[in-house]
């Protein structure tokens, strides 16, 4: 496949998962808790990613300092307004994650800041399926706001097992239905934005 398909967020770090990614046609994946910083296997690249959950700015700074040298991609789940604002403007942070824990701290100002500092918003696609309807509504409202502000939205699988990894065609179809955008736009979220993010952090694809 010519288009490099990349899964930007996954927890699935065993051999079977990497095999599944290869079968499904992915070129790269950012996996949390990977043993090595980077793994290259049959034209597939797996890089280590860190997701930091933080309530205070002090702790976040400390965690980023520790993780930046060990991981390629750093995503932050803000658990307070202060952390959300800091994550939006700090250069070392690559993404801000929108999950039910952080949904209350991602407001209009935060979206405007993300836009201003050109920072993407990571949305795990499984939260849009498994959560209750009220939580889903909150998340979808934030995504709509982000799309309205032209903030880069990146979808990730957050797969914990090999069977939770989505096939690219299913990914685009599901994203298109949930976000009410065209399949082409979802494909861009899966390929171009993610590739840019990885290249920016020094991974050659």
């Amino acid at each position: 496949m010519n288009i490099p398909l990349i899964d930007i967020g996954s927890f699935c770090n065993n051999e079977k998962c990497i095999e599944t990614y290869t079968i499904l046609g992915y070129r790269a994946a950012c996996i949390e808790g990977l043993n090595h910083k980077i793994i290259r296997k049959n034209n597939f690249i797996a890089v280590r990613k860190s997701t930091i959950y933080s309530e205070s700015q002090k702790n976040l700074k400390h965690d980023i300092r520790n993780e930046k040298s060990r991981s390629f991609i750093i995503a932050v789940v803000p658990l307070s307004i202060e952390v959300a604002r800091f994550a939006a403007r700090d250069r070392r942070v690559d993404m801000v994650v929108l999950i039910p824990d952080s949904v209350r701290y991602i407001d209009k100002t935060e979206i405007a800041m993300l836009k201003h500092f050109s920072k993407p918003l990571e949305v795990p696609i499984n939260t849009l399926i498994t959560q209750s309807s009220s939580v889903k509504a909150m998340i979808i409202r934030r995504i709509d706001l982000a799309l309205k502000y032209n903030v880069t939205v990146i979808l990730s699988s957050w797969a914990h097992e090999w069977n939770e990894i989505l096939a690219p065609i299913s990914y685009t179809a599901l994203g298109s239905i949930l976000l009410r955008i065209s399949m082409k736009d979802v494909l861009v979220m899966l390929t171009n934005y993610t590739r840019e993010l990885m290249v920016k952090n020094g991974v050659h694809i």
Partner: protein, 161 residues
């Protein structure tokens, strides 16, 4: 009973026809317009429904153990109901019309407007009868014949070893 918007549109048509007669003296156009108005009043002209078009989605199954046709069909219907609702399920009517257990591949028939939903659904299914599995859409076709052809041809790497 004729609704108010229809009434207004009829009056507009009659007036425009009258002006047309006065200006051009073209009887045939007038006749055609009057017939149209008459059809509208007598409800002869109704919205034509399009032909029900189908799509055939070829998919492969990767699982710990081999799965049966019935299990897969049940899982598809159950999860469709959970995600998209019962009304959507009855309209889309997804049917597993063909399943080859030896290569763990099958064909789903669906109404063409629900193709995207079906593709999304195949990605959502992670477990059937407590067994971990992955359904991978391979291709979408307009005819069963072509779908069956593709079933045996494409993506040999997805076949169980």
């Amino acid at each position: 009973m004729i609704s108010l918007p229809l009434m207004i549109s009829l009056i507009a048509i009659v007036f425009s026809t009258a002006t047309l007669v006065l200006v051009t003296n073209r009887i045939k156009i007038v006749e055609r317009r009057l017939r149209y108005v008459y059809d509208l009043i007598t409800m002869k002209r109704r919205k034509k429904h399009g032909r029900i078009r189908k799509r055939y989605i070829v998919f492969a199954v990767i699982s710990e153990q081999d799965l049966g046709k019935k299990d897969i069909e049940k899982a598809i219907r159950r999860i469709w109901k959970e995600i998209f609702g019962e009304l959507s399920l009855s309209r889309a009517d997804p049917q597993l019309i063909y399943f080859e257990p030896s290569i763990q591949r099958g064909i789903i028939r669906i109404r063409h407007i629900y193709k995207k939903e079906c593709l999304a659904l195949l990605g959502i299914i992670h477990e059937i009868n407590g067994m971990k599995c992955l359904l991978i859409p391979i291709t979408v076709s307009g005819t069963l014949k072509r779908a069956q052809k593709k079933l045996y041809m494409l993506r040999r790497d997805l076949q169980p070893k």
